[in-house]
């Protein structure tokens, strides 16, 4: 037995030494069958002024895209009826974040309409390490395509590169900054410019009379949500005003307590930005419990839900920033299907779905769609 153990240890030590001498991993390349987009890197527009309420600001690239080049290798045969299996890996699920029910509805609608088998994977709670693990687990299943959220480009880089190196086409949706900014050669990012949303939201709250702000972040570490808060804080700083970030969780009861404690400790804070229903709902619960009325504090939020729409209508919430989650899910499946069946690639590194501002002036238009398609 002792001899066996000594031998086992020797093997382990030898393997460690061998690995130390191994060459480093070569940089991954995009799958050979997919022509990379040749457009110039999209530059996010610099925030300038608050846009008109009814017209959602778009995040179109400042430079016109160059025409795409035909693939050098022989293109795969077009087969509009090709059977497809796709896996979507996202950092949140409908089960614990109602925002994602709309994304998943988009995914499921597209899958049904296009006759595609889609599996949605996500962690049981906000857990980026677990999400990174799920990307590798999805790659092992060798699906025809993977849609995923690039919630943390640094953490997800290796797993996404492994999928791309395995020849699996990858598109990003909801969270990401595009292949150029993220430094990962996926096909396109379908979502909104998060910084813009936060910055423009901040300017709107200042214009409404906000003097000191707080960005309430329920998923600290989510690169997109962090960017929203950065934009918000920068907007306040641009007017020589102060704003801070308050970390909460996806647990509504615990989050309500955190918001309440923060508001008690900082009574001069009058502008609150929440980053989705999981931040807005505990905020509304605190608002009700504290006896404050609509307009006592300024509140703006990202995303829409039936609760958010109700509060926009009664004046408690100035605006909801719509990123069109249904479109994100639908478009991610559609983009992969078009590529895999018709050999049509996404044209731009960023396919913008927002941000669009919904306020009292246009809320009637989206009321019936909130929580369903918006």
């Amino acid at each position: 037995m002792n001899k066996f153990i000594r031998s086992a240890m020797l093997v382990v030590v030898c393997a460690l030494m061998l690995n130390a001498c191994a060459p480093a991993t070569p940089p991954p390349t995009a799958p050979p069958t997919i022509p990379p987009p040749t457009t110039a890197p999209a530059q996010a527009p610099q925030p300038t002024a608050v846009p008109p309420t009814a017209v959602p600001p778009t995040v179109a690239p400042t430079k016109a895209p160059a025409p795409t080049v035909a693939p050098t290798a022989a293109a795969p045969a077009v087969d509009p009826n090709k059977k497809l299996k796709l896996v979507m890996v996202q950092h949140a699920l409908c089960a614990w974040d109602s925002f994602w029910c709309v994304v998943q509805k988009g995914i499921e609608t597209a899958a049904k309409q296009m006759n595609i088998e889609v599996t949605v994977l996500g962690p049981d709670k906000f857990d980026l390490e677990k999400t990174a693990t799920l990307i590798d687990q999805a790659t092992a299943a060798k699906p025809d395509g993977i849609g995923l959220t690039v919630t943390d480009a640094k953490l997800f880089k290796d797993p996404i590169n492994r999928a791309i190196k395995a020849g699996i086409p990858v598109v990003a949706y909801n969270a990401g900054s595009g292949p150029d900014k993220d430094g990962i050669p996926y096909l396109t990012y379908i979502g909104q410019d998060e910084y813009q949303g936060g910055y423009l939201g901040g300017l709107r709250m200042i214009a409404a009379g906000g003097k000191k702000g707080v960005c309430i972040n329920q998923q600290v570490g989510h690169a997109g949500l962090d960017l929203r808060c950065k934009g918000f804080v920068d907007a306040f700083a641009s007017k020589n005003l102060k704003a801070a970030v308050l970390g909460i969780t996806d647990d509504p009861a615990q989050s309500q307590t955190t918001i309440s404690d923060y508001a008690t400790a900082n009574p001069d804070v009058d502008a609150f930005l929440t980053l989705g229903p999981n931040g807005a709902n505990p905020f509304y619960a605190w608002l009700k419990a504290s006896g404050k009325k609509a307009g006592d504090v300024k509140h703006g939020t990202f995303d829409l839900s039936p609760e958010i729409v109700t509060h926009i209508q009664d004046g408690s919430t100035l605006f909801g920033i719509d990123q069109q989650p249904f479109l994100q899910g639908y478009n991610a499946v559609m983009s992969l299907a078009l590529l895999l069946r018709q050999n049509v690639s996404p044209a731009l590194p960023v396919t913008a779905t927002g941000p669009g501002f919904v306020d009292k002036t246009n809320v009637a238009f989206v009321k019936a769609l909130a929580g369903q398609y918006r």
Partner: protein, 333 residues
Amino acid sequence: MESRATFLAQLRYRFADIPEVVSFVSLLTLFIFFSIAAGNFLTPMSIANILTFASITGIVVIGVSILMIAGEFDLSVGSNFAVASYVFVLSLKAGMNPILSMLTALLVSAGFGLINGLIVTRTGIPSFITTLGTMLAYRGIARAIGSGTFATYTGAPPALFGVLNAPLDAINQLFNPASTLRVSIFWFILIAIVMQVILRRTRYGNWIFATGGNPGAALSQGVPTKWVKVSAFVLVGLLTGFASVIQLAYRLSVDPLRGVGMELIAVAACVIGGAQLSGGYGSVLGACVGMLLIQMLEQGLVLMHLPIEIFQAVTGLILIIAVISNTYLSGQK
């Protein structure tokens, strides 16, 4: 009917002293099932995923299994895990020598284990309650030292990261897709072997079993049961800290919620592996197999394109079957 009863009695007699038998049989059954039912299961990437992703939590599981054999729980491992990563990455960012940073993180984790052990042995408060409290307290510490936000190591990775958890590129690149084998697997195997030997072949190992099985009798035989329990808590803390620094060497970042739920996965792996909540029975090997089984289950479900939501339900079912089987085989029913 009589022959069936005789067969079961013989089975029970043969396997009563092998706590890992149920976990091995379960692992084998699940392996065969996924080999048949899940496409791409018998591929290098799938197997590598199972081994690599099981290895880090597996190191924590090894410590938890020893503590459970000593008759105690530690629900604070997930929070301790987060604190160790924060200490490691923040001290690295502060310019501390990488090895010193790692030792500091390990010292903090072992210290947390010591606090758990001292509270349990000095006050007589059950470890379930004690570590429930410290789980919340340590999580609060993780949030406080991390200012409630992510901490990411952005500099050039020191050589220590390679020793802790480099990718096994020489092997990985042989396959397409390149698999995910990492050095953490070797650490997992190495620690499992060392701990299994300590548990089975040393006096300290005997003390662990004696303390968990019958503390009164052990004390009367001269076993320092309190010291044994405290040392087992320190060991869990140390292994949790080591698993944490290994993970950070790969993922390079830590968030305030890192490790949440790890304590339950660890207990589940130990129970599937044959450990009993009453103490005095179990094995490191069984717990490691239990951890591999849980990871295999997760990978297998993904490969079958089944909703990940059913993972917990299936894990729970396997857990219950394992407990019933283990209880029967150990002769308690």
